[in-house]
Symmetry: C4
Subunit: 220 residues, 4 copies
Amino acid sequence: MKIFHGVLRSGNFGTTRLEAFSDGVFAIVITLLILEVRMPSLHALAAPGADLSAELWKSLLELGPKILSYILSFAYVSIYWVNHHQLFHIIQRSDRGLFWCNSLFLMLLAFIPFPTALLGEYSHEYVAVIFYGVAMMLTAMSFLLMKWYAVDIGRLVKPHIEADILRKSVLKVWAGPVLYMLAIAVSFMSTTAAIMIYWIIPVIYFFPTKLEHDEAEAKR
Amino acid sequence: MKIFHGVLRSGNFGTTRLEAFSDGVFAIVITLLILEVRMPSLHALAAPGADLSAELWKSLLELGPKILSYILSFAYVSIYWVNHHQLFHIIQRSDRGLFWCNSLFLMLLAFIPFPTALLGEYSHEYVAVIFYGVAMMLTAMSFLLMKWYAVDIGRLVKPHIEADILRKSVLKVWAGPVLYMLAIAVSFMSTTAAIMIYWIIPVIYFFPTKLEHDEAEAKR
Amino acid sequence: MKIFHGVLRSGNFGTTRLEAFSDGVFAIVITLLILEVRMPSLHALAAPGADLSAELWKSLLELGPKILSYILSFAYVSIYWVNHHQLFHIIQRSDRGLFWCNSLFLMLLAFIPFPTALLGEYSHEYVAVIFYGVAMMLTAMSFLLMKWYAVDIGRLVKPHIEADILRKSVLKVWAGPVLYMLAIAVSFMSTTAAIMIYWIIPVIYFFPTKLEHDEAEAKR
Amino acid sequence: MKIFHGVLRSGNFGTTRLEAFSDGVFAIVITLLILEVRMPSLHALAAPGADLSAELWKSLLELGPKILSYILSFAYVSIYWVNHHQLFHIIQRSDRGLFWCNSLFLMLLAFIPFPTALLGEYSHEYVAVIFYGVAMMLTAMSFLLMKWYAVDIGRLVKPHIEADILRKSVLKVWAGPVLYMLAIAVSFMSTTAAIMIYWIIPVIYFFPTKLEHDEAEAKR
């Protein structure tokens, strides 16, 4: 118990550098996601010497499914950024435990470009669809872990935030993992249905929680 | 209407992290733009074993058109950075709506290295020239959307900014999309003429708006 | 002596930009570490045309050892970030000397993705295992140098920090280099044993020093 | 004259975001510099299947000249960072002109990894040696331009900084371009001699100017 305290609860800083560091990782991940789109097509173009205009059109049209899978991942990363932002808005101080939770989350976030590229290239293969779902589920669960640590274990949030509203906010996070598991199960039958579930998830998180809504109301 | 309010208008933060995150994306995009220039030439150099000095000169000279297209995109990204900076200078608070507008803009900004590379390699192909124009037009329109949201929908700007001057500033943003459409139409006849229009656009945005000018005067 | 003073001790700034710059490098290094995992597998997949699902599973399973070596390096970089954060928490001002120490540390930190990739691909080759150990030892020693400069040479730390506790903290840093040297010696006999030592090191640094613990206690 | 004023002198901001943006570019450039070292060797290793340990040693030893050229460029970029930091330490506000100067400087800074890679691979080719010198000279001159703009044109520096000391600082900047030109001239005869001049330049800039020294003295 004392060791646990020493490892996680020591350190007592503001959250400025933790946020700046996370923003750096977010910015790089989001930029690398989109950059991936172009590489295969440019390599393909280098090979043939025939009708260049027609080849270019064809290559650009073939990017379609890839661009879709990148927009999807971009939506996920953007929503994580908003939620990360809002979580740290109510966190008033940080300790080692929060840092390790954040690090685990960033490690999984930084991994997203790989399953995204795989889904973009093999969207009809259930292996790629499941891999995407597992990666996204782990990321969602690491974010949930960080939220849970900050609120219930570390008691790092501002005291005036009502525990009741926070619990609702924590509950919402579970919607993600459950839907990911559903999508993984569905992907054995239909990869298209699974991908549709992946598109529904960011739509759910697009809507703010009651806590966020009330805060906005209170401040007008 | 209530849902619209909940989705967009909730959240009430300062703009510090939004700016830091955007700066991160800007910095990465601008660095990756230039980095692209070198890759093809270095690969080409690895193959032959003949007169190395002559080969090196030739490879460096062949970079010419590519460097031009990167300077062009660098100018665009730089100008967006200044305008982004100036927009957030008059914005006093942020909400979810502003974040989504900013995210859409960053998604398109992060895409710029791809059309830039395409234009650098196929500057005489109308497909590449049109693709560049469409990508740039979408980026410009997403910036316009953010400006319009911040000023007219979100009312996030400082109250002392005169609506009248702001409208002029919004008008100026339209010059971009119109010129992009002109360039796209022209590119079917002459890719050189279209590229010349692309070079004119950053020159226009290089000049500050009346609002910016007046602010500078007021502060001397 | 005067030259030494001019080169190292001149300049007298806050540490804000030094921290922001370091955070940028940390964020990029940590993102690039994970990104490396996917490249080889995607290239391998492009070649065959046989049973795609089976090929995908095989490729993903083969990533296993690589993912392990990246988690290891991620742990190292994360721990450096925490320690860097905590060091600058007690540093109250910076000079040129601190900057050069920090630069040397960042140069070695930025190098980490290379030995990590090498270890992931050749984990049974003692050459790769030694190379990883040497790179990690140099990084640890450059961090030690910075800590020593800040505390003993530059006297840049806050005066109320007790020298005695600081010395303990400096001592702890030595545990790293010694264990790296042990691992390097061991790797000639068993690469597995050497890699196990590499996994023990982050565990040691996971636990906070007495200084950090006392500070946390004092602030409750 | 009025147009000149409108284009350059309008805008009146703090320098916070300009510094953050520049730090982002610096961090990315410095990380990418080092990352380049590993690529060729890893590709080379994939081909042969013979004595792996011996191949690995050979590949790592062959990296030697490349690592040298990266340390050189790392020193340059680090010194630019310190000087950029110190310049913005005495600048109290920014305008559009300063931004454009800074942008031009960053554009050339972001280009550095390309000539560095070229010098690392073809250190005995005068073409690569000259190309490195020209790129470095242009970067140095763009930094000089920014310094000159901030001090003499924009009058953006703090008023208590003595003009006389500043001029000395501006003079020092010229040492770089002159030495680059000398190195370029020398490289036709001896590439080794030219590279030695490239190593002397960062040593000169390693020493702080009188202004920096006096400031440090004043603050003790």
